[in-house]
């Protein structure tokens, strides 16, 4: 077996004494992509936070490029190459757009020029403060900020949530462009299951803190009955 970028082995995680996730096992290869699906409140964001090291791990191991990172602090994981786009965006409101981008940047192929190429709107607003942006612009900034750390794995936690349809299209196109090059792996949590599946190679479906389905994204996208059963998504029959 080729060395995996990220592996979960029977991980149990939660907050304090409360267990949210249990028996989580999966592998993500270098440059792989994974859709994380499931209804609201099943533990998708907790899984993202567990990858970042922001939950309590009760059992199991998390392995990054062959190294056990189960007990590593969040900033060490970020420096090891995990880029986090948080669900609430969590833009630094006291920093300008450009400072948000450079504050944690690490050298690599993503720099100010290339993220401004990807999101021209951020270039126009570079001197604005984080709290002067629209929801869509904040989301662009959250993604660009994570890209600036030049991660080997990008975690996208519901990047399209709460945005106007036109902004969703714009962002989905940017995500497609950014991930289509296959230069880094990514995990995408998304309520729009059809978009998530069309962007990724494989998919995990979580229900009540456990993995209930694991397989290729294309196969799941084609299996309308399974989609309906697993994530409550009814696609029109083609």
């Amino acid at each position: 077996m080729a060395e995996m970028l990220l592996s979960f082995r029977d991980v149990r995680a939660g907050y304090g004494a409360g267990i949210v996730l249990d028996a989580i096992t999966f592998d993500l290869p270098e440059n792989g992509s994974l859709a994380l699906l499931g209804r609201n409140g099943v533990g998708k964001s907790t899984l993202i936070l567990t990858i970042m090291g922001m939950t309590q791990i009760g059992r199991g191991r998390i392995v990054w490029r062959g190294r056990d990172i189960t007990t590593d602090a969040p900033h060490r994981r970020a420096r090891a190459g995990i880029g986090w786009v948080a669900q609430e965006r969590e833009i630094f409101s006291a920093l300008t757009v450009e400072e948000n981008l450079t504050v944690a940047a690490r050298p690599g192929r993503w720099d100010l020029k290339s993220v401004y190429d990807l999101f021209p709107r951020l270039a126009e607003r570079r001197r604005n403060f984080g709290n002067q942006l629209s929801g869509g612009e904040q989301q662009m900034l959250a993604i660009a900020r994570a890209l600036m750390t030049n991660p080997a794995l990008l975690l996208l936690d519901e990047p399209l949530e709460g945005l106007a349809p036109i902004v969703v299209e714009e962002l989905a196109a940017a995500i497609r462009r950014m991930t289509g090059e296959g230069a880094n792996a990514f995990i995408l949590v998304e309520q729009h299951a059809d978009i998530a599946l069309s962007l990724t190679q494989s998919a995990l479906v979580i229900e009540r803190g456990r993995i209930v389905h694991s397989g290729a994204s294309a196969a799941l996208l084609a299996d309308h009955a399974a989609l309906d059963r697993l994530v409550g998504l009814r696609l029109a029959e083609a």
Partner: protein, 286 residues
């Protein structure tokens, strides 16, 4: 000279001292939500370092200032590593009890070593007296205080607003979890910030002796002023602390000059009004 200018001048000089002594607390409180009531003990330490070096070892005043800064910085980092970091996730009451205990220990230690008298200090001749400018009588030392504190403020603002270190500090104050999630080592950053704040307090304490005097009660007396500056200015805001320190300095001096009968309560009235007007501080973000 019209008294209003004199009051303003003295108030600004006083405000500059309050700013130096409180800015570190504002940043660390905003960054880590750690209530450090012992902050003025670092200022007092700086003061005692300066009088000891000058009176016992004959050092010139200016040579003692960097040592006062370093003493404040080292003391704060030692206390942080030994005690404070164990209490970051504790509640405010525990933090207050721990740090007020340190205040009492520092007062007792100062009284044990130096006695409870005011410490004598002889400023160098070129900082004594006053100069006359367009009918104004300006004390040289207070002019020096204003210039020195203004310079330090500019260096501080440039560091925090224009460097990556400063941006990381502001990011960590703003959203600590996200800062960690992007790879910023918040604990180390906090250690540096803590040392910087303690060092500025030590320097402020050394500069304060000639204007405010120095005895073991310093750590408690000026703690109240520093806490007012921080709460009126808003947590984590340099500009807010600066504005609040100036307001408090001028209000205190004006009270003493114009309405001496009210002077001891005036600053509390000012604080009350400011807090009611802006509950999260002048420039507070939360």
């Amino acid at each position: 000279m019209p008294p209003v200018f004199g009051v303003l001048f003295d108030g600004i000089a006083y405000g500059m001292l309050l700013f130096l002594m409180s800015v570190g607390l504002s940043v660390t409180l905003g960054m880590m939500n750690f209530v450090n009531l012992a902050h003025c003990s670092f200022a007092m330490l700086g003061g005692y370092v300066t009088v000891t070096l000058m009176n016992a070892l004959g050092w010139p005043f200016f040579a003692t200032l960097p040592v006062a800064f370093i003493a404040g910085a080292v003391a704060s980092i030692v206390l942080e590593r030994l005690f404070f970091r164990r209490f970051y996730n504790s509640n405010e009451l525990n933090q207050c009890l721990l740090t007020i205990g340190i205040v009492f220990v520092s007062i007792a230690a100062a009284a044990y070593i130096y006695g409870t008298d005011q410490q004598p200090m002889q400023l160098p001749p070129y900082l004594q007296g006053s100069i006359h400018f367009r009918g104004l009588d300006l004390a040289v030392y207070r002019l020096f205080l204003i210039a020195a504190a203004a310079l330090i403020t500019i260096v501080l603002v440039v560091t925090l607003e224009w460097t990556r270190f400063g941006a990381q500090v502001r990011a960590a104050v703003n959203n600590q979890r996200m800062a960690r999630g992007l790879g910023i080592d918040v604990d180390t950053l906090f250690g540096f910030t803590f040392a910087l704040g303690g060092g500025l307090a030590g320097l402020g304490g050394a500069l304060a002796i000639a204007m405010l005097g120095l005895d073991p009660s310093f750590a408690l007396t000026y703690l109240i002023y520093v806490l007012i500056v921080v709460s009126v200015g808003g947590l984590g805001s340099i500009a807010g602390s600066f504005a609040a320190a100036m307001l408090l300095g001028v209000a205190d001096m004006a009270g003493e000059y114009y309405i001496p009968a009210l002077s001891s309560v005036l600053i509390y009235l000012v604080m009350l009004v400011m807090i009611m007007w802006r509950p999260s501080g002048l420039f507070g973000r939360r």
